[in-house]
Symmetry: C2
Subunit: 413 residues, 2 copies
């Protein structure tokens, strides 16, 4: 392969059909942001939208806005837009609460839909909150169900007739490895288990076809590739065929069939609304809607093609310019097996990432030794990869990471 | 009693030590807003604060803001401020999720702290989401615990040795009736049960002394008297003495002792942080902080004194000007037994409320026949009561409510 040049990459940017999307986001000059897999950037339109919700809808409309601005329908409205991004149908997705809370709702409902089965299956090293929520459910039910995990190469073995539910994250937060959703879902169904996908690192990043693979349930995050803002609401998906039977224990009034009848008895709403719990957070959900609107207007096939190419070029540049500095590729080399990130291991990973951040190049670090670089095709440029790798090569060549201020441990989500 | 006059009320406004607070809120000229018990008004400072969080903290700070703007500590920081309003100590309150989700966490934890006891006690007509969440818990546990309700005059009878938990709303959303927190809490403790108070209609409205009455748990709402914005996060309180034993099943990563160690095993944080679940909603929690700051800076004794007087004067004005129009007082006449609202029943309540709203006087309606008027001493003026009652008298005298457009049923939370 001919060595890559910055000019060649600049030409790719010029020819990039997605390049106009970058204008829709706030991106400071000189910043290279490779952390959209953790916290997405601010859509310019979100500033005006949030101000409008605060000043006009809340400030002036006050209580009337539940009707006049249809705050009531907001979780379903944004959910329906999101559905188009993840291969679901209208009426199958709502935006609400956090990913963690939504996972509890769905996992709790699922174990009740498979009475007598005693296992929930996941993998070690799944995103922590997924394992923690499943442990919370397990502990709360006092041993009625237990969480069993196995590394992905042995997962299919432990999915058996005693399995009520399989919970997996489609794209792994740390390695970027992507599961074959169709195969795993089929394996779960083969033994009569239900399948729940966490799409936190997939929604808006890679094509997802929930209904094509016959997924039963899904949850996901609004603040990563969907650019919904820090701590944006999560979402949940329940396949239409399960909705009549689906009952979740967080049965708050917004999931009631007629909340404003103020009756004493919970009657679940028809359809996906029964996945709601408390009063909708209007500010945060409105901000998320802006990000979802942008994502829904982009061509997912183009996003995926660019994402694969960004990853491939990044790996090639690392081999050209950073070979011999002790980096190991953690993510799959084969683009088809990766999500929209590339992770590297390095024993000085923490300090190296701090040195990059000091140069205004932002990725993130995951203990014990992983540097993560997320590629967000709507705003990552090909030349960003060049500039980033050149900076990294300099940092390594000069030992620039080896400073006391780069070695303290700080928390970054 | 000498008949009240508008001048006399205007003099009360002039002498009102709280009158300067009104300037802190957005209130359109001519609007009389008596619905702060449902959705509080917009603090002027919240506009700038939300814009700052969106533009500077999210837009510019991006992922770095978890550290640089200490987003990590936000739920505890706002919780500690809120603690001062409800008679709790620092380290006993966090802001997170919705009231409904928080109630589930605490009720689920509580039943596990009283193993073998099979009852949760509440009252019929409690705020619907409270009953719904408890029903959700009951259904999920398959009869292991059951919800038993009795009208408040017979409540003490059904609180017995089989009771794990008593869940009551301090100020009733519909009638405004206020429980004697000390007496009910003592009754629950007498039989070894735990006591959980819903403070949704109390926090920022009436003095609450959680620790003085030895309450075990509490939840509440951020969008009413705390002026946190539509669907603002709720809060939860766990008394210090229970925190070591307290384990809640929504054990998401933000409740972990060290979330960013990304370990596979949930270890609850020390203290109140274990009440957290998913990633903090930064926009909404930041907006709520503004409302809490204002409330924490006000003198609760002055708020309560004005609130009582507003209610008393409203009742007196109704008797002076609206006797004979078929209104019945639903709230206690005795101010000491009322929260910060007065409710009236009228068979044409819905249409009458619509007629008031058409005159820019906003209270709300609760099925089947209740008109609610919330008094928010930080921005309700005495003359507002005069103007509102005069308007109501005219509406009744002229039959102004009797129009087709005032009779459709719309949903208002």
């Amino acid at each position: 392969m001919t060595p890559l040049t910055r000019d060649a990459l600049a030409r790719l940017d010029q020819d990039d059909a997605l390049s106009l999307f970058r204008e829709l986001f706030e991106l400071e000059d000189g910043l290279i942001y490779l952390n959209g897999n953790s916290l997405g950037v601010l859509p310019k339109a979100a500033k005006a939208r949030v101000a409008e919700v605060v000043e006009r809808e809340w400030g002036q409309g006050l209580i009337r806005s539940w009707n006049t601005h249809d705050w009531i329908a907001l979780p379903e409205r944004v959910g329906n837009k999101l559905a188009t991004i993840i291969g679901a149908d209208a009426g199958e997705v709502v935006v609400a609460d956090s990913t963690s809370v939504n996972l509890f709702k769905l996992a709790a409902a699922a174990v009740r839909m498979r009475p007598g089965r005693r296992k929930i299956v996941s993998e070690p090293g799944n995103f922590p909150t997924d394992l923690y929520i499943l442990q919370g459910l397990e502990g709360f039910l006092g041993g009625e169900v237990r969480l069993e995990t196995a590394p992905r190469e042995r997962l299919e073995e432990i999915i058996d007739e005693d399995t009520a539910l399989v919970v997996l994250t489609h794209v792994h937060y740390k390695s970027g490895k992507m599961f074959d959703m169709a195969a795993l879902t089929a394996r779960a169904h083969e033994v009569g288990a239900l399948m729940l996908w966490d799409l936190s690192h997939s929604a808006g990043a890679v094509p997802v076809a929930l209904n094509a693979v016959q997924a039963d349930f899904a949850v996901g995050c609004g603040y990563k590739y969907l650019n919904g803002g820090p701590g944006a609401p999560g979402f949940l998906f329940v396949a239409k065929r399960h909705q009549a039977e689906f009952r979740q224990p967080l049965s708050g009034w917004f999931g009631h069939d007629n909340p404003f009848a103020m009756s004493d008895i919970y009657e679940p709403a028809t359809g996906i609304k029964r996945g709601l719990c408390g009063t909708t957070g209007i500010l945060a959900t409105s901000a998320l809607e802006v990000g979802v609107d942008i994502m829904a207007s982009a061509d997912m096939a183009a996003i995926r093609a660019k994402s694969r190419q960004l990853g491939d070029i990044f790996i090639a540049l690392m081999e050209q310019y950073c070979a011999g500095y002790g980096f190991t590729l953690v993510s799959p080399r084969e683009a088809g097996l990766r999500g929209s990130q590339v992770s590297l291991a390095h024993e000085q990973g923490f300090a190296i990432m701090q040195a990059l951040i000091a140069r205004n190049i932002i990725g993130d670090f995951r203990a014990p030794d992983i540097l993560r670089f997320g590629f967000t095709p709507l705003y990552t440029r090909y030349v960003d990869l060049w500039d980033m790798v050149q900076a990294l090569a300099e940092i390594m060549a000069k030992g620039e990471w080896d400073r006391p201020e780069f070695k303290r441990v700080t928390a970054v989500t």
